[in-house]
């Protein structure tokens, strides 16, 4: 396998420019490391649909779920680097994973960055049955009742797990963590008051907040979300250091020709400029990368920062 990869790398280098010019000549597979229907999958489908149109070849979404997304990324990272297999990585697989999975078979910072697709802000939400009504009250309550507090999350390695670990570390609290197999069951138990609070992506929570089934304490982004204009930012609520976002970005296997990834980046930029695609993404409550954040170099730097930021937090909490 290694020999093959090396041989292919040489072959790519030799025929690189010729191949890159005719690229893409057949459908491209984008591996999404989560089950179909989740936020990352939906973002991949929205962006992939417009990219297919501008590249002139279909981008086929293949869901390879498992082990917090690392199964799919491992598979994608080991695929031929001819540009016909790319992947949608995210905060977990390319930020938190190195700290959580010691035997990780890929290096997030070594994969070729294509560009950030979209990010979904993180909210801190509490059960209606919990006394505190604001973030400040919540912090006071959490510190006063360390043994009573139950925090739900959707499994080790999930966005809701990592982001809440960061919150707990920053607040200096050690609640009892209750693991669930997904956001749905966790929300169900939070609505009925079995568990007290959790952190998760806006798309999973917005309707429950609007219906008044759960209480939103704050949104961990620099600005308020148009989807939930009443929810204060962490900065407004008095916890400015809690800034975290579930970002999703496209990567290609190590050694993919720069001409190819440049074409992919170009197609991604076009998708992000398209009104329909933008509308669909914004409707999820997603935040789109600004002009200067859409480059490959920006993503490369960003991944390095994310790995450096998550590793100490998650290792300490283990």
């Amino acid at each position: 396998m290694k020999m093959f990869a090396a041989a292919l790398a040489i072959a790519t280098a030799l025929t690189g420019s010729a191949m890159a010019q005719s690229y893409p000549a057949k459908p491209i597979t984008m591996i999404v490391p989560f089950a179909a229907g989740g936020p990352t999958d939906i973002i991949a489908r929205f962006v992939g649909e417009h990219m297919s149109r501008s590249l002139g070849q279909t981008i086929v979404i293949e869901n390879v779920a498992g082990a917090g997304g690392t199964t799919g990324i491992t598979r994608a990272a080991g695929s031929p680097n001819d540009g016909y297999t790319i992947m949608m990585g995210h905060m977990g697989t390319h930020g938190a994973a190195p700290a959580l999975y010691p035997g990780l078979k890929y290096d997030p910072t070594a994969l070729v960055p294509v560009g950030i697709a979209a990010s979904t802000p993180i909210l801190i939400v509490g059960s209606n049955k919990l006394p505190p009504k604001t973030l400040q009250e919540f912090i006071a309550y959490a510190k006063a009742n360390p043994d009573k507090l139950n925090q739900a999350h959707a499994g080790i390695g999930s966005v809701s797990h990592s982001t809440c670990v960061m919150l707990n570390v920053q607040l200096g609290i050690k609640p009892t963590a209750v693991p669930y197999t997904g956001t749905g069951p966790a929300l169900n138990d939070m609505i009925s008051g079995q568990v007290d609070y959790m952190c998760d992506q806006i798309v999973n929570l917005s309707e429950q907040i609007r219906a008044g089934n759960v209480r939103a304490y704050a949104i961990a982004s620099p600005e308020r979300s148009p989807a939930l204009p009443d929810v204060p930012t962490t900065k407004e609520a008095g916890l400015p250091e809690y800034q975290v976002i579930a970002w999703n970005a496209i990567f290609a296997p190590v050694g993919t020709a720069p001409e190819i990834t440049a074409k992919l980046n170009d197609a991604l930029k076009k998708a992000l400029a398209d009104e329909t695609t933008r509308g669909r993404l914004l409707n999820l409550g997603a935040v789109l990368p600004k002009e200067n954040e859409q480059s490959q170099a920006f993503l490369g730097e960003f991944v390095k920062q994310e790995v450096a930021r998550w590793t100490p937090i998650l290792k300490a909490a283990k």
Binding site: F4, T29, V60, E62, P80
Partner: protein, 161 residues
Amino acid sequence: MTEKLQGQPGETPRKRSQQDLGGGLFLIAIGLFAIWQGSNLPLGTLRSMGAGMLPISLAWMLIAGGALLVLTSFTTAGPDLERWSLRGLCYIIGGVLVFAFTVQRFGLIVAGPLSMIIGSFASDEARLKEAVIFAVIMTALCILLFKYALGLPIPVVNFRW
């Protein structure tokens, strides 16, 4: 009651279920294997159960069940162990393994006929010519059905090592 097994003279005649004896031993073996594999898992406490708590206790319960089967096998009547049909076992599982090893490398066009032809020899009525023709037709049908009608991302023709 007609059988008399390793009982000392004068003891009540015993029946024995070979099947239960074998089955019990089989379960005990599985249980021991699980305990050996899970020996490094922390058991934890009731308040925060460790990863090993359930697997290990289930394995012990399985061993207990197996032991109970072994014990009762000496006192209850039951069928003797049947002979294993090695032919069926080898060809069917062989066919499945061949499918697994060829489908991603060569695609369905190779994996389909190959595994079906091997598999069909599990039956003693198998005829080579018929098996080959049927395998080719079925593979074509499967390609149409799975790849084109349902659109599943299964490799059809692939020559990747």
